[in-house]
Amino acid sequence: MNASISVHSAILWRIASFAFAAGLVMLWQMIADARLVSPVFLPGPDRAWAALVRGLTEGDLIRKTLGTLEHMAFGWLFASFVGIALGALIGSAPRVRPYIVPTLEFFRPLPVSALIPVFIAFFGLSQTMALSVIGFGAMWPMLLATVHGFAAVEPRLYEVARSLHLSRAAVIFKIGLPSASPDILAGMRLSVTVALILSVVCELLAGLDGLGHWILISARAFRSADLFAGVILLGMIGYLTAVVVAYAERRLLVWRASGH
């Protein structure tokens, strides 16, 4: 009984919350209609929506969205494989760790975007540059998380592995990766965000097919409705990727919640 009441009130609150957001959109519409802010900077939600629908149905907004998703996905997948593999190698070698980890930690606060000029010097303003930047930048949180996860494995498990004479590969796959999986998945969640940001920056800089380029040219041409449509799509990509990764994280870590 109580549970059903709380479910009811949760739904009601959700509706109220949507209504509040709708009220803000209406306020935005009123501000735009009253021309309190010049329409050059601030299109009304009606115009932004129209631009979004028009771009998706007849324009090339779909292609741009797919371009951004593609950059993100390639960079992120590359980052996941390399980051986890390298992290597992470093993390499972306790004697090597003290030599490598301080250097890795030194680079942790370095803004990844600072590497963009270095990659431009190597590859020029190209697709290769963008993918390398995204891959390298997104690899970093994953690498550090994996190393950390491996280092935090219960030491007695390693002792068990030694007394069972397990090979290095078996230690990594049977002990290291499962115990480090919460850290690795948290790293993957963080690196999705990094991949999205770096994709936008690289598209913006190198003029690659993607939403980053779209919003910049819309701004240059003062087409604010198209610009807002692009920003809305980027927000949706950010939201959906975060939801998907968080869902995968919950599904894969079910065993943890069950008390083992």
Binding site: W13, F41, P98, Y99, P111, S113, F222, G235, G238, A242
Partner: protein
């Protein structure tokens, strides 16, 4: 004396620098526009320090980062406290916050650009947007996590809402708010450099881009290493402050 671990930590970078120098000398890097031996990176850095460009660019980056952090952080802190204290407001704002927060901060760059043009204000506005979220989310969580008995005490004392926030909520939530502040400071530096590299003609990010376009890999790498030092020092300083000020009270799980 340095401990054994410190020496081990230094071994890799020192080896890399020595190898870089040997390789750079042997392979006549002047023909390549993307690399430079460590010695010429050091020389380029000394030159850039002498002519004052390191100082001005670092100052510009740090000023925009901290101003943005101050503005965005204050806004995030206030909204966070409000939402933490008033569950009704929190539930009403939920959809709004959930739909704005995932927008990558760099995506609002073109919007701010046409509204404000190039310069400090462009960068400060974007940094504020980015820094607002960690403070908002973590402050809200910190305020909700305030020991319920403290709130009972404040009710028993018949404190006004303002006094309750100032005397009970903020002091109790302060350690965790500082953690949020430290995370936001890191974000501020990242966003400012990203905006400078993408478009804004000032600061360390722009200096990096200019050095690259001038085909000066030595200067570019000098700025990159310097930026690493700046980021690392900022982080180390804030961690030190956190440990000194709050000790174990600030140890909470990193959110996000």
């Amino acid at each position: 004396m340095l401990s054994a671990d410190t020496w081990k930590g230094l071994a890799l970078p020192v080896t890399l620098i020595v190898l870089g120098e040997i390789f750079g000398r042997m392979a006549n890097l002047t023909d390549i526009d993307s690399l430079a031996p460590p010695s010429s990176i050091v020389l380029a850095f000394i030159e850039a320090v002498r002519d004052g460009s390191v100082l001005t660019t670092t100052r510009d980056t740090l000023i925009t980062a901290f101003t943005g952090l101050a503005i965005g952080g204050t806004v995030g802190l206030m909204i966070g406290i409000l939402l933490g204290v008033l569950p009704v407001a929190d539930r009403l704002m939920e959809v709004t916050i959930e739909s704005i927060r995932p927008i990558p901060s760099i995506a609002i760059l073109p919007i701010v650009l046409i509204a404000l043009g190039f310069g400090y204000r462009l960068e400060i506005a974007i940094i504020s947007f980015a820094c607002m979220w960690p403070l908002l989310i973590l402050t809200r969580a910190a305020v909700r996590g305030v020991e319920p008995r403290l709130m009972e005490v404040s009710r028993a004392l018949k404190l006004s809402p303002a006094a309750r926030v100032m005397k009970i909520v903020i002091p109790a939530a302060l350690p965790r708010i500082f953690v949020a502040f430290r995370l936001a400071a890191g974000i501020a530096l990242i966003v400012s450099v990203t905006v400078e590299i993408a478009i804004n003609p000032l600061g360390l990010g722009h200096a990096l881009m200019v050095a690259q376009q001038a085909l000066r890999p030595d200067l570019m790498l000098a700025y990159l290493v310097w930026l690493g030092v700046v980021g690392w020092s900022l982080n180390a300083l804030l961690l030190l402050a956190q440990n000194r000020l709050f000790g174990r009270a600030a140890i909470v799980e990193d959110v996000r």
